[in-house]
């Protein structure tokens, strides 16, 4: 499988009928009208389900409180920006937002770096400890937060990192890096080793080869890694609620829980906050989405 890392979307040569069809059943890519309707119908319904909940929250965020709380179904009712104004100017939302951006960006950058070097070493070198490390990466996926949270808390306390953002960055790296290294290893496997050999004949050491030759070819997989690490950090709740103690250090995931008092949830503010929280994740998604399929291709194939 020589998956070249061009960023152009892959177009399988499916629908090119070479000779007039000798069979009387419809050829691939030239299907009956009923089939087309069925296909598009299913995809449209699926897309609507996929975006429906998001769209409803977005619509609700522009409604005034009484309209959100009413049972009447309306798509748009007295559109207002009041919910956004409240969230942005009357709460600690901007602080939490900044904290989340810092944590997520650091996790993403360090995460990409660590998983890329590790994935490359796992893919190219048969060093003692390679297979155990691969197994360990799989097993770490099974560790429940509940077992790790107390000892990690103790370690962070010893290091004096409780209630600081680096504590979260480190904790999130332990969640994201094993999977990402695994995924990148799969992708590096699909890049021909002849490239490494050529580079080493040209006098590149292993680090230079990795950085100058292989890394640029692995852009799709790097994009997926970035997306994955960012999202991990952006949406995590358990560690954030255990390690962060003061309002000025909360991340969004934890801070927003404050809008949910037990009985009288402030739904209209929550919807606006939800939209604001989703926007940065959406931007990262837009950058990565072109690469998602090709980046994960090789990643999923072999352990």
């Amino acid at each position: 499988m020589t998956q070249m890392a061009t960023s152009a979307p892959v177009t399988p040569a499916a629908a090119v009928p070479v000779s007039p069809a000798p069979l009387n059943r419809p050829r691939r890519g030239r299907r009956s009208v009923g089939m087309s309707v069925l296909l598009h119908g299913t995809l449209i319904v699926a897309s609507l389900i996929a975006i429906g909940p998001i769209a409803w929250v977005v619509l609700s965020s522009f409604k005034p409180g009484y309209a959100v709380q009413s049972t009447e179904i309306t798509l748009v009712k007295d559109p207002t920006l009041a919910n956004y104004e409240y969230v942005l100017f009357e709460t600690s939302f901007p602080t939490w937002f900044l904290n989340s951006v810092i944590v997520a960006a650091l996790t993403m950058l360090i995460g990409i770096f660590c998983s890329a070097t590790t994935g490359y070493a796992l893919s190219r070198f048969n060093f003692p400890g390679r297979r155990p490390l691969m197994m360990v990466f799989l097993v770490t996926q099974m560790f429940p937060v509940a077992i790790l949270i107390v000892p990690i808390y103790t370690i962070m306390a010893t290091l004096g990192l409780i209630n600081t953002l680096p504590a979260l960055v480190i904790a999130y790296l332990t969640i994201a890096v094993p999977f990402c290294a695994w995924m990148l290893k799969g992708y590096f496997d699909s890049i021909p080793t002849s490239l490494d050999e050529a580079a080493s004949l040209d006098g590149c050491g292993p680090f230079r080869t990795f950085y100058r030759v292989i890394l640029p070819l692995a852009r799709p997989a790097i994009a997926v890694t970035g997306f994955y690490t960012f999202l991990t950090a952006w949406g995590e709740v358990a560690y954030a609620s255990a390690f962060m103690q003061t309002d000025d250090k909360f991340t969004l995931a934890y801070g927003l829980q404050q809008f949910v008092p037990q009985f009288n949830a402030q739904w209209e503010y929550l919807t606006a906050a939800a939209v604001l929280v989703t926007i940065p994740a959406g931007i990262v998604f837009l950058f990565a989405q072109k690469h998602l399929v090709s980046g994960l291709t090789a990643g999923g194939t072999k352990g």
Partner: protein
């Protein structure tokens, strides 16, 4: 794994020169993995071993310290031995949990089973169906793909909130729609199975995109010629799917099903935020039940660790079993 060069057989020599040669040969590889290994050793393996140890004690937030120090009036510190210091209790925690004396292990385990099987089945089934459809040459393929992957980009706690909002008893869209067609509002979160249903729906919605994208990648790696020749041989669409698509997807499927099972089993935020265990803890899965049992009120470290060890053991047994079954069917993995 074709990219790895084989190790030359070591000629019989002392340990030291052997180590030396090994170092000369492999230092760059080790240098590349060392940061990750170090961080994981400190933050995963030490906590794991520590956690296993704690599960055999009765440590809580209150009795964790061996000494209690109080500032005296003169400014010095006086330390006294903690009268209720923690102690080694053997398998007491495990017995208490498994016999249902503390928490409701079997109820939660049952929920976890339903939750995981439903989640993974629908993730994989829907993901495969959508991937196969998106793999065909159709108009608006790019648009469909973006829309269908979108739920992946939404942070889990936001999805949890959005679905909770949709199914809110009083002002949720779902009940409003039900009312519109003349059905009474349903109190989704006051009954075990309906609450669990909402949580499972949320999780399905959230997890399908990953499966779809991974399987779409797998589909693209199946050579198109296989389909063409099968078609010339007169194979029907269903036969092509059975004989080419499914076997071709096998490596990807095996990996994503294992990962999906582990991830769903340990999926914390959805249950924690959507049902909050309502009503009365009947919809907790193991991870959320453990978290609430151990961290609400006085933090019970030993209990948390015991649950953790149990959960980890279940998953380990599952994956060993899973791999054994795969290997029997001739999968080298």
């Amino acid at each position: 794994m074709t990219t790895v060069t084989a190790d030359p057989a070591p000629s019989g020599a002392g340990l030291l020169p052997k180590l030396r040669r090994s170092w000369d040969k492999h230092w760059s590889a080790w240098a590349m993995v060392v940061p990750v290994v170090l961080v994981m050793a400190v933050l995963i393996f030490y906590p794991l071993i520590n956690g296993v140890w704690i599960s055999f004690t009765d440590q809580t937030e209150a009795n964790q310290l061996a000494e209690i120090c109080t500032k005296s009036i003169t400014g010095g510190e006086v330390c006294k031995e903690n009268p209720n210091a923690w102690s080694f209790v053997g398998f007491d925690n495990y017995v208490n949990i498994l016999t249902g004396k503390i928490g409701e292990f079997w109820l939660w385990a049952g929920n976890t089973l339903v939750w995981t099987i439903a989640g993974v089945t629908f993730h994989y089934g829907l993901g495969l169906g959508l991937a196969v459809m998106l793999h065909r040459q159709i108009r608006f393929r790019g648009l469909y793909r973006v829309l269908l992957v979108l739920p992946w980009a939404v942070p889990a706690f936001i999805s949890a909130f959005a679905w909770k909002f949709l199914f809110n008893e009083r002002l949720g869209l779902v009940n409003s729609l039900l009312n519109a067609v003349g059905i009474d509002s349903v109190a989704w979160f006051s009954e075990r199975w309906s609450a669990l249903l909402v949580a499972i729906l949320t999780n399905i919605w959230l997890g399908v995109p990953f499966m779809m994208v991974a399987l779409l990648g797998g589909l693209q790696s199946i050579p198109e010629e296989l389909y063409e020749s099968a078609e010339i041989d007169g194979a029907s669409a269903w036969q092509r799917f059975r004989a080419i698509t499914l076997p071709g997807l096998r490596p990807v499927s095996m990996t994503v099903i294992l990962l999906g099972t582990i991830w769903t089993f340990n999926m914390f935020p959805i249950i924690f935020l959507v049902t909050e265990g309502q009503p009365a803890g009947q919809t907790e899965i193991l991870v959320t039940g453990a978290f609430r049992a151990a961290f609400e009120g006085i933090r019970n470290y030993s209990l948390a660790s015991t649950y953790g060890v149990l959960i980890l053991s279940i998953l380990l047994i599952f994956s060993v079993f899973y791999r054994r079954v795969l290997r029997k069917q001739g999968e080298v993995w």
